[in-house]
């Protein structure tokens, strides 16, 4: 396999991990975020600083990156997610910009806007793939469990959910924390893949891309988010030769999908349910 193909697959795994996180929050819990790149940045910088400056092994460092994102998500989530509506979306814009600016200006720790070089290239294909597979299994299991139904209940009707005994604010915060963990790990892997991170990589554009991928794949469909990630990542990579125009194509693809299929590629269905459906009908 050529280094280039390998690189694309690693990038796919990383983007898919982040997309799964956002999908849980936006697609399944119904909370829009425009600042999830901040959690990726937190994961990336925590891991980079731990491995480069403190000589921590990359694996625990990646986990720490995820946990750092979770901790910040908790402090942001508790005050904002008690409120209904799109308060978190607004707060997340602020969070995204705040984290980026802190990273740019806290020179002594993050080395500022020039970026953080010299990260050990620990994100090899097996590492990225293993993280993706394990986290995907956890995520798909999770949405098919009590917690997944609780999230969907909060998304569809928070009053009914509360009257069914769900502590909706707590479920939203937990959902955000899990989602932040996924993005934190994705950011940490990205750092190890590129060996270099820069605050500008985690700007608002990255955040909107994360949410766009999830909407594109279909809100409430985890496999849709993965498909969306694959399409968007490949479109941007395939058209790299015409570099100036590739964002144009990226935009056009988004517009076409939203016009032709506003519910996203998969709607709210999972890939497996399409495979299973004909058999079920025959049985019934």
């Amino acid at each position: 396999m050529s280094g280039y193909t390998e690189g694309i697959i690693i990038l796919l795994c990383i983007n898919a991990i982040a997309a799964m996180g956002v999908s849980l929050l936006t697609g399944f819990t119904g909370i829009f975020s425009l600042g999830h790149a901040a959690y990726m940045a937190l994961g990336a910088y925590t891991t980079a600083i731990l491995t480069v400056q403190h000589g921590v092994h990359w694996f625990p460092a990646i986990v720490c990156g995820g946990i750092m994102a979770v901790a910040v998500a908790f402090f942001i989530g508790v005050p904002t997610l008690k409120l209904m509506g799109d308060y978190y979306a607004i707060a997340s814009i602020g969070l995204g910009e705040a984290i980026r600016l802190i990273l740019e200006n806290w020179q002594s720790v993050t080395r500022g806007a020039r970026g953080y070089p010299g990260i050990d290239p620990y994100t090899t294909l097996p590492v990225a793939a293993a993280f993706f597979v394990v986290l995907a299994i956890f995520m798909f299991n999770l949405i098919n469990s009590r917690f997944g139904r609780a999230c969907k209940a909060c998304r569809d009707d928070h009053i009914a959910a509360a009257l069914l005994g769900f502590h909706t604010a707590r479920i939203r915060v937990i959902s955000l924390m899990i989602s932040a963990f996924y993005c934190g790990v994705a950011g940490a892997l990205l750092g190890g893949f590129l060996s270099f991170i820069q605050p500008v990589m985690f700007d608002m554009l990255k955040s909107t891309e994360l949410t766009a991928v999830v909407v594109f794949g279909g809100l409430g469909s985890m496999s849709g988010s993965l498909l969306g990630t694959a399409v968007i990542t490949l479109v941007t990579e395939l058209f790299r030769p015409i570099s100036q125009y590739r964002m144009l194509i990226y935009g056009a693809v988004l517009v076409v999908i939203m016009v032709l299929r506003p519910e996203g590629i998969m709607g709210n269905r999972e890939f497996l349910s399409w495979v299973k459906a004909p058999f079920r009908r025959r049985a019934g």
């Binding site: 956890f138 299991n141 999770l142 098919n144 469990s145 009590r146 917690f147 997944g148 139904r149 609780a150 969907k152 209940a153 569809d156 009707d157 009053i159 009914a160 959910a161 509360a162 009257l163 069914l164 005994g165 769900f166 502590h167 909706t168 409430g220 709210n268 079920r280």
Partner: protein, 268 residues
């Protein structure tokens, strides 16, 4: 059961009891000084014209709104201090006048969402699908299917809830509420939007679940016939206040009730 058997100042607290409950919205008194009690195992009706404040009472009981004055006791516990999500844990479930189903989920998932409370497996077990996950999910699914069977929706289990006909959505809400294993079931206008035939079937269903699940039920209705037919104990309210309480016969002939429903007689 006559007026005398509803002890408003009894020593023992009743199974479910409202005392002097008052709620204002701005300058409008939605509920004023409402007092009534229901004994365990009763099938009671809360009746009144549109806008009388019936649904507000349910919202006060379930903590959707906060009380201005008064007390709501359930098995001796004051519900006013509880959050909405805690009320369910005490054994109270309700349905909604304007259906609140999880539209995008399947019929079965709707019931499973409620049924999962009494089947514990940990978060980690849910994430890994190990341990008690399999047996837990099986239990949840079986219980939910049994309830769907009970309300006659088993053959539509895999359909999206939002695509069900209206009458079936009401039945689904009842099934979902029953999945919480409540002791007290509050039904908010279960017959709204149903035709006469559907109402008759619903009457049978309510009477059956009242008996089979040994429930205490409080039904809100503004249609007099439904309440009159199935509820031996009726509370009638208008403009936020109780105007009559008693058996269907007593209610039927109560001058205040007739006035509320038919308008005041012109007296020369």
């Amino acid at each position: 059961m006559g007026e005398g058997s509803f002890p408003e100042a009894g020593r023992m607290s009743a199974f479910f009891e409202l005392t002097g409950v008052t709620k204002n919205f701005g300058g409008v008194q939605a509920v004023s000084n409402m007092t009534f009690s229901i004994e365990k195992g009763e099938l009671a009706g809360l009746m009144g014209p549109n806008g009388a404040g019936k649904t507000t009472i349910f919202n006060l009981v379930t903590g959707v709104y906060g009380l201005d004055e008064g007390r709501i006791l359930f098995k001796g516990e004051d519900l006013a201090r509880l959050k909405t999500y805690q009320v369910t844990g005490r054994g109270i479930a309700r349905t909604f006048q304007n259906l609140r189903l999880f539209q995008r989920s399947t019929v079965l998932e709707n019931v499973m969402t409620a049924a999962q409370h009494h089947v514990p497996y940990s978060f980690a077990e849910g994430m890994t699908h190990l341990g008690r996950w399999r047996s837990g999910e099986k239990k949840i699914r079986e219980k939910s299917m049994a309830l769907l069977e009970r309300v006659g929706l088993a053959d539509r289990a895999e359909q999206a809830a939002g695509t069900l006909p209206y009458g079936f959505q009401r039945r689904l809400e009842i099934a979902r509420a029953l999945a919480l294993d409540p002791e007290l079931l509050l039904l908010d206008e279960p017959a709204a939007g149903m035709n006469a035939e559907e109402v008759a079937l619903l009457n049978v269903l309510i009477s059956e679940i009242h008996h089979d699940f040994s429930l205490t039920i409080l039904v809100i209705e503004h249609h007099m016939d439904l309440v009159m037919e199935i509820c031996p104990h009726i509370i009638c309210m208008n403009f936020g206040a109780k105007i009559a309480e008693g058996t269907p016969e007593e209610i039927q002939n109560h001058p205040e009730v007739l006035k509320a429903y038919l308008g005041e007689e012109e007296v020369e």
